[in-house]
Symmetry: C2
Subunit: 173 residues, 2 copies
């Protein structure tokens, strides 16, 4: 029996977005219809995943301004996140997809730019039952984890930054 | 500065293989040369990731007999794992790849079908310095984590099996 799953990848470690990308690849391999809505990060076209999505014909929507953590204009960042959720709502309710990824979406909930309970209520009434929805990001709110079917915590055991090694293209981005 | 990383995805949760697939997708998106050597699992052609790899022209070598946990012939399983390591050694030392994934390789180490210290010593002397090597599986030996540049633990928070929901194509396989 096919059932759309709500999947949450959270935690302080690596692999949250990366595992979502792995699901994108699997689903694409099966001919499923996939869409990625990326929050926070901006589309510079320099990300390996965006290059890959373009090559594969996977719809990829970057809604962030990419400068959140050093942002001089938090209003802009917050407005972009709320706009991103509107785009996500359209995609989710369209019925045109088998898998939708909301990448880094937890930040909008954690920082209360969006109300978690309202987001969950909206999903309960508007998500097509067969749609798989993958949500990534640190600090997933407990209500979201309660709502999820599958939730995974990615924890850092060891990181190359600690050893002075920079992020490597093709691996981390 | 480009430096090949040793990356270990371990833990009891989901997302170990899936995050490796995400790196495969990123690297492929950047035109990097990628190879996956899969231990334990057999190639049935029914995996979403194998379908995707075939479509993308990514080299994918399944070396397992796929029946390990219920195997009536552990000798066969062990022989296949050791043979898989020989194949992996050829691929690693060839210098023809930018990223190699050894999927589910930790089992061969954990169950001592291969000697972890010997594997590490071999990698120290034979791995091209720019090659990224991703090793996945539960119970990664501590020596392997010591050797790794990046190690992540994927932990289960919540799993749909607990609620009687079956594994979903495109998501888990």
């Amino acid at each position: 029996m096919r059932k759309g799953l709500i999947i949450v990848n959270t935690g302080d470690g690596k692999g949250k977005t990366t595992a979502a990308l792995g699901m994108v690849l699997r689903a694409w391999g099966r001919g499923m219809r996939v869409c990625v809505v990326q929050f926070i990060k901006s589309e510079t076209g320099q990300w390996g995943e965006i290059k890959a999505a373009h090559k594969l014909g996977i719809e990829w929507l970057s809604t962030g301004d990419g400068i959140t953590w050093t942002s001089r204009d938090m209003d802009e960042t917050i407005a972009r996140a709320r706009h991103g959720w509107k785009i996500a709502q359209q995609k989710i309710s369209s019925g045109e997809y088998d898998l939708i990824v909301l990448d880094e979406f937890t930040y909008a909930l954690h920082y209360e730019w969006l109300d978690t309970q309202q987001v969950i209520e909206w999903l309960k009434t508007h998500r097509p039952p067969n749609l798989h929805l993958v949500i990534t990001g640190r600090n997933a709110p407990p209500e979201l984890i309660d709502f999820a079917d599958l939730a995974t915590e990615m924890s850092l055991i060891k990181h190359p930054y600690e050893q002075g090694i920079k992020a490597q293209p093709g691996i981390e981005f």
